[in-house]
Structure formats: C-alpha cells, structure tokens
C-alpha cells in the first residue's frame, strides 16, 4: 500500500516514539540470500578496486551504498565512507555509524562485507576515485588515522545542517574529513569542523537542499533520538528547506571540482 507522505507523518507523529525508534533498530533474521548478495557485492567491489589499484595505483576511494530509497529527493545513494587499501592488500572502510536508538554516532573501520551487509535498498556500490596527486596524502591520513578523527562530532542528527557544528551526520563527517586530510590548517585549530566547513565553502561545495514540510518534520522528530531540525537556520527551516550533506552532492562536487574522477557504479542484477 502506498501512502502519501503527509499520512505517514501523521502516523509517525501519533505512534509511540520508542516503537518507531525500535523499528529502525529491529533485529531481523538474516536470510541466506541476503548474506550471499551482500558478500557478492563486497567481493565484486573489491575486485573492481583491486583492478583500479593494479591499473593506476588507486589506494583510496570514496565509497557509497544505497541503504535507502531516496529517489523522491532525486538522490541515488544514502551513505558513504572512505575506503582504503590495507597493508595486506584488502580494503577497509572508515565511516560513521549512529548507535542504535541514540543521538550519538561513532567512527568504525570495517571490511567491505560489513559495509554492504546492510538491509540495502539496492545492491549497488558507487565510488569516486580521488585525483592521483591526492591519493598519497589521503592514504597516509587514513592509515595514520588522527586527522579524519579531528572533525568527528559524536552528537548526531541524520539531517544535520551542512554548515552547522552542533550535530553531524555520517556523510557530513566524511566530507569534513576530506578537508581535514587535505588542508593542514584545518586540524591546527581546536574546533576543526569550522575551518573544515570554511574550506569546503571556499572549494565550492553545495549541500543538497531538501524540502521537508512541517508535518514531516514533526513526524520524524517525535520520539526519534537521531533526528533533529533545530540546528538549521530559522529562515530555512521555517520555509521548509533543509540543507544537508548527501552522497550525490559530494560526488557531483568532487568530480566537478577536479578532486576526483567521475562516479563509478557496480550493481548486482535485481532479484524478485
């Protein structure tokens, strides 16, 4: 049954918060098909990244998955992280995850299998390869680990304001980590997020502007610890506009600015 968003918002608003929060954290039995497809996507992605490494020395990519159907917003992928080559020749993804049912997020370093063993909306990987001259500094920063951590903010909202520092969603961390890894001045200050965002503005990054109606805001906010809107400027929030960091906006900006090559995708055939 297809419901209109406003109906959904009312349903969400009327439902007990814990139930809604619990739904997103629900433990579901893992089917053999889901496990095999997640691992297959991971293996094929690994093979593609290995091939890129063999071809041109690629050691770092910005890697995305499609955990959500965001097509209503014109978006294709939902979540990204930094994938980089490990000393043993395998790959790890450094990314931010929200601790279930809380307004906190932490950074994790995971294998490709874990990255794709999610309840994916679509079994498709997407990535951009940072420019050749950026590969070495990015790989060094990811391997050392300190600089990308400097822009990590545990306070989490999944629709956090792109130019705010009160909350930080995962794609926002990944984007700010790019600034922290490439611009030495960013990590020279106490609050590294502000200079990171200044660098991103200077480089021309533009977040995605989403239209979120008041009832939708209310419905999403009630009882969900990990969604907040009050970090957004009033003039935007009260005119139903939410500026936040999305995979698609990051990919488009990186490619257009020459920071990376074009978006590459790898999808498993759909199943019924």
């Amino acid at each position: 049954m297809k419901l209109r968003p406003i109906v959904v918002a009312l349903m969400l608003a009327a439902s007990a918060g814990a139930a809604q929060a619990g739904q997103s954290c629900e433990q579901k039995p893992l089917t053999p098909q889901a496990l095999q497809r997640g691992l297959e996507l991971a293996l094929q992605t690994q093979a593609a990244l290995d091939a890129a490494h063999q071809r041109d020395g690629t050691r770092v990519v910005v890697l995305a998955r499609a955990g959500q159907d965001l097509s209503a917003h014109g978006l294709r992928h939902s979540h990204l992280g930094w994938a980089y080559r490990w000393p043993d020749g395998t790959w790890r993804v450094l990314h931010k995850l929200n601790d279930c049912g809380t307004a906190q997020g932490q950074l994790y370093r995971q294998g490709l299998g874990v990255f794709f063993l999610d309840d994916l909306w679509r079994h498709e990987a997407a990535w951009v390869v940072p420019a050749a001259e950026l590969q070495a500094p990015l790989h060094a920063a990811l391997s050392a680990g300190e600089r990308p951590l400097r822009v990590h903010q545990p306070a989490y909202s999944m629709v956090s304001y792109a130019w705010g520092t009160r909350f930080q969603q995962s794609n926002q961390w990944a984007l700010e980590a790019l600034a922290a890894m490439l611009e030495p001045g960013v990590t020279a200050t106490t609050n590294a997020r502000e200079p990171a965002q200044a660098w991103l503005r200077f480089k021309g990054y533009q977040p995605t502007r989403l239209t979120v109606r008041p009832l939708q805001r209310l419905g999403a906010r009630v009882g969900t610890a990990h969604i907040a809107f009050d970090d957004h400027p009033n003039e935007l929030r009260f005119s139903d506009r939410i500026d936040t960091v999305t995979v698609d906006s990051v990919f488009a900006w990186m490619a257009a600015s020459g920071l990376s090559g074009p978006v590459q995708t790898l999808a498993l055939p759909a199943t019924n």
Binding site: K28, P32, L35, D88, K96, D119, V159
Partner: protein
C-alpha cells in the same frame, strides 16, 4: 584454530535516512546494520590457523547444496559445537559458534542443514535462515569490524 566471533554491534549507518520522512512506515528502510548484527560467525573445530582456510574446509562442507544432519550439540563456556554429518556419505565436520551466536538459533540434534559456498566462506542454513557463516581468509577481511572512536 579460527577465532569465533559474533558481530554484535547494532548500528544505524548515520547516513541520510529520509525514509522516515517520505516513505510508508511499513516500508521504511533503515540503515541499521541488523544483518551484520545477526550474522553468526563460526569457526571450524580442529582447523589449523597455519593452513589457509580454503584448504582446511572439511569434506563434509566442501560441496554447495549438500544437506547435513546435526548429530550432536555440545554446550561449553567457549560456545556451542555442532557435529554435522553429510547425508550422502556420512562425512563429518565440527563447527563452533560463540554462546551468543548459538543462542540466536534453535538447532537441535536432527536438524537438517544446507551448505552453500560463497567466495568468502561456507554458509550453513536451515528453513530459510542463516545458522552459521564460516569465513575463509577473504571472508575474515570482508567482515573486519573495529570501533575507532568511543
């Protein structure tokens, strides 16, 4: 011997979960890593860590589609050990799951288990559910999971 692990983090990928805002609640897709948290990673009993995982897979688990029966279930502080026997020829293998992983499933003597082979390891399932996943060396890397900040 391979280390028995159970990936127990229940996480939401902190990505943009706008499904709450736009899609029917019944169809809402979260970024929760529930699949990973529900993955019972197991190990082979008697396998040597000095030998590659691929070569240590016992005969009983070497063919996809094979059906095995659970002969014994042994509980211990280190977890649960199942002794499995292939129906076609009686070949046996022992698999250990951590206590927590084993607790997620109800496997008793006589349960029929199906073997599936993947590039990342051996999958044991029954009644449409994953009972255990035994990663090979590649699978170990794919399932690496480390919390960096706290």
């Amino acid at each position: 011997m391979f280390r028995t692990r159970f990936l127990h983090h229940t996480l939401l990928a902190a990505g943009l979960s706008l499904s709450l805002l736009t899609t029917p609640a019944a169809h809402a897709r979260s970024e929760a890593s529930v699949a990973v948290s529900a993955l019972p990673v197991a190990s082979l009993v008697g396998a040597s860590a000095a030998v590659s995982a691929v070569t240590t897979v016992p005969l009983a688990l070497s063919a996809g589609g094979a059906v095995l029966v659970v002969k014994t279930v042994e509980l211990s502080a280190q977890g649960t050990v199942w002794v499995l026997e292939r129906l076609s020829d009686g070949a046996r293998a022992s698999v250990r799951l951590s206590s927590r992983a084993a607790g997620a499933t109800s496997v008793g003597v006589g349960t029929l288990v199906t073997v599936s082979l993947t590039g990342a390891g051996v999958l044991l399932s029954a009644a449409g559910q994953v009972l255990a996943f035994i990663p090979n060396a590649m699978g170990e890397a794919l399932l690496a999971n480390e919390q960096v900040t706290r």
